[in-house]
Symmetry: C2
Subunit: 296 residues, 2 copies
């Protein structure tokens, strides 16, 4: 079968292995970029992966990283500086694109807050979005299965983190799936999306107007109803330009306090929403995840 058909599968065709697009040596290991046919998103999807040198000799745990609005699969590998620590700690890093691309859906590329590049890690239920915008299933099922089948990843030994929309995604994926991730953390998460304009806009389009269906994708609501108490580590900058209007960590803190939920939320004086902030604290997050991932 030719390569073009692999990545644009016809109906009924079996999904193929991810195709390597680029490889760069970095901190003793390799940053690789892949594309593959996604069953969940009925579309091509892309992701990056960092394979430490140690992965040539043994299977390693995986930290999944979910990026924010407008980002694709390369930003984290370029800007966060995580590879040094992943190499040292023996951890694979996987960063998917933030949505399907080239969907052809009217309006899908008109706003940076919604549509392509802004999948919000939910499974859309409303037409026309429901065909391609299934980032929740992609992130929690298809991607980890694909990684564990095709790379030297220890089966089931996973943690998850992310930034902004991706911080929201990381918490939502972990809280909805107790036991799936060894640990969860977030930078600058959209912590109460039902109370923010970004969240309301996306939920209305993807899930429809009935807000009862939004709850499973709202970190604060999930903490309110959580049956298990997996600790969550969050870092947010006090000069984050989206702090009050969109991220709303105070609501997350409040519900965690009410339930005595193990949320560790660090406000970092003077830091903003950028990857200058993420790169400053990524080492501490990777060390946090390594503690959970190291216990086999």
């Amino acid at each position: 079968m030719d390569e073009a058909r692999k990545i644009h599968p016809h109906r009924g065709e079996v999904l193929m292995k991810p195709l390597l697009q680029n490889r760069h040596f970095c901190h003793g290991g390799k940053v690789e970029y892949y594309r593959h046919a996604s069953g969940a998103c009925q579309s091509e999807m892309r992701f990056s992966i960092f394979l430490p040198e140690k992965s040539e000799y043994e299977k390693l745990p995986v930290l999944y990283w979910l990026s924010g609005l407008t980002c694709s699969e390369d930003i984290f590998m370029i800007k966060a500086g995580a590879q040094k620590w992943a190499s040292e700690l023996g951890m694979i890093l996987v960063a998917p694109d933030t949505s399907a691309r080239n969907t052809g859906i009217a309006g899908a590329t008109e706003s940076w807050e919604f549509g392509e590049g802004a999948g919000f890690y939910v499974d859309a239920t409303q037409a026309p979005w429901s065909k391609n915008f299934k980032m929740y299933t992609y992130t929690t099922e298809e991607l980890p299965n694909l990684i564990e089948e095709n790379f030297p990843a220890l089966p089931g030994v996973r943690s998850i983190s992310g930034h902004s929309m991706g911080g929201h995604g990381a918490i939502v994926c972990a809280l909805n799936n107790p036991g799936m991730y060894r640990s969860v953390s977030a930078f600058s998460p959209i912590a109460a999306p039902m109370q923010s304009e970004w969240g309301q806009k996306i939920f209305t389009h993807f899930l429809g107007p009935e807000s009862a269906t939004w709850r499973r994708y709202d970190s604060s609501e999930l903490i309110r109803e959580a049956k298990t108490m997996q600790p969550i580590l969050v870092d947010i900058g006090t000069k984050d330009q989206f702090l009050e209007n969109q991220l709303k960590p105070a609501l997350l803190e409040q519900v965690a306090r009410e339930r005595d939920y193990p949320l560790k939320l660090n406000y970092r004086e003077n830091y903003d929403h950028s990857y200058y902030f993420v790169s400053t604290f990524i080492e501490s997050h990777l060390r946090y995840h390594a503690e959970s991932l190291d216990h086999g």
Copy 2:
């Protein structure tokens, strides 16, 4: 005087202080972006600076970073991950843009290898380039003067490094000015530009066809004639896509060997020309510079 006039000065107007454009907290310090009116380039110029927290209390040494073709003042601060080490070592980082911009010169923006974004750290002598393309004077005189006047920089305590075109620039600036920089290093430098297409094209446009005038901007030629023997540290990846055709480190090695010149050239197995490579070895370069900069 209004801000607009400060950055677009009229003839005879005194050059003004650099204007802050953006500030991001990072690794305990600040990444700041500035623009200013450049006398050398008769144009607005831009640079970024990283000020470690320590610079709030005392003056610090400065490492100048020169970027490569197509880059501007932000790439190094975004991609190299140097701020962590600069913070730890107490070192200011300064990264200028790679040329004047918006010069309006015909052909200045048509090629990524030449013109705007590709000033090559030379002083152009040929019209129409000679008006704005004076990156050598800008880098070795105007910028350090401006930094030492406006920021907490230890006067005269400087080192220099860079990548690709900027690695060439760093070596050329240091070898032409013995005593000006405490130490010099380069990643993937264009090491013998008189023997490469990139160098020949730029030198012909900026300096004219007489190759005798090119020599002072060619690292290999400068080592051949050097009267002082300042050590040079170079790292190059063995999978660098420009290694044989444009960078030509073998010529630099050969002339250094002939003269017993203290060149330390590390070939790094499997690494390419990208900032994935730079980010891997930037810590070792900053520690190398810190050794020279620490001795007051």
